[in-house]
Symmetry: C2
Subunit: 302 residues, 2 copies
Amino acid sequence: MSILVVGSVAYDTIRTPTGEVQDALGGSATYFSAAASFFAPVKIIAAIGDDFSREQLSFLGERGTDLDGLHMMPGKTFRWTGVYNENMNERQTVCTELNVFERFQPHLSEGETHTPLLFLANIDPDLQNRILDQVQGARLIMSNTIHLWIEKKRETFLSTLDRVTVLMINDSEARALTGEYNLLKAGRRILLFGPKAVLITKGDNGVLMVMKDSVFTLPAYPKEEVCDPTGAGDSFAGGFMGYAAQASALNEMTYRTAAVYGSIMASFTIEAFGVERLRDLTRQEIEKRYREFVEITRFQGG
Amino acid sequence: MSILVVGSVAYDTIRTPTGEVQDALGGSATYFSAAASFFAPVKIIAAIGDDFSREQLSFLGERGTDLDGLHMMPGKTFRWTGVYNENMNERQTVCTELNVFERFQPHLSEGETHTPLLFLANIDPDLQNRILDQVQGARLIMSNTIHLWIEKKRETFLSTLDRVTVLMINDSEARALTGEYNLLKAGRRILLFGPKAVLITKGDNGVLMVMKDSVFTLPAYPKEEVCDPTGAGDSFAGGFMGYAAQASALNEMTYRTAAVYGSIMASFTIEAFGVERLRDLTRQEIEKRYREFVEITRFQGG
């Protein structure tokens, strides 16, 4: 099955303790597709400015990603500038220029509205709703958000939740959304708004997935060296949706295994700046790390 | 096999957002024994003051714990007062009165020196060394420490490390000891001082065990309600050593499974103030939660 992703394609300027890049290819849709394209066909819906070189995405095209949904609009491409702290567990957004993204109002084609899998990246919840209005009969819809929308468009964001299957949200966002520090409580609280599953990502502390009748908890793949955490969440989403797209059934065990693939994809992304590591990655490396992950989490009966 | 534990028996005064207790039974050796005694015979070596009522430990005696190593000394029992913050992820020590513990210089009996398993709780590293001087042929020695010793007796503490099999240390202590924020790096750095394994506990984010040629990572058992986190680490150690004491071999897989039992025991301890939950707990409840833990961590191939 193929996956439709609506998100950003961006130029990122990033400084971490290990170095700095300027105007590197980034954006939620880019990371997502770079990760998901190892597993399934992906179609990107995003806006780019007239300063954007489509060639930068040719590595995605080579993996079967459909780039026809890239709307080139007059003006500049979305730009984000961020600086990470010494331990790379916090970052500061120095500058966000929405540029063409601000006027982006995608209309899905007939084929796109019938997509079996949809990922709504951390875009404006009003835009998420407008996409959801157009989609029919999707088997798995995952969405994501950021603090900005929780603060500025809380009600609108909450209104999207009974229209999605899985909400992916990080720990601090889950706490901000619910006022609950305990993540199991926060997850259960979010479930009341309608999603079937709440996937709480905790950076290098792994993932907690809360569903109505079950809980799943997973450590992160331990990494000694981190180069750039940017895009880890969207890469996680790409691994998750990618695995789900080619699974024989969409059930809880599929979501669990998908979360492992999500962790694996995030662990690759953070090894280099931007999407660099995902450019030359191979499915063989992914499967090798999956087996390694199974090994490092194994215990008696587990 | 039986386990010898050298640590504290204390009266704790604890305030958490859920309530408060005064002069509740506590201390590292108490929590450790309360957890380990479900699995194996334990002998406690500790000092108590003449204000201590041995009856408080009778529940341990009923589980086969040997209390003959409780040295009653003139003066008051060790007392600790602590206050937890709203989220119970940080605590402030309001007051520590070492009392009789300050003069505690245990001499092990002939039988005690040949203990197959030894747990050195977070006592003064000078005292840890003096115990290690007396012990011969132990098959598994685990130790623990606190920030105080890392700050005040760093070199002495480091000198204990090539005499122990497993160092159990929490994340912030591992970072303080090594200057490394990354816990995998911190664990590898600590390994250089001699222990076979470094078990880094991360509270509700689980455990990372680093050995020379392998890494093991485990999430925590997710809990919605926490009453009092006091003693979670020592209960973890008790579950770990208890499981190891009755395992057929002391190898890496045993340590991994032992870490799961450690997590399970900690998850019970935090359900009530002090050691209360461990008083009426049953082995059946422990095994039930173990199976539940297997279930909530299961994924394809894992």
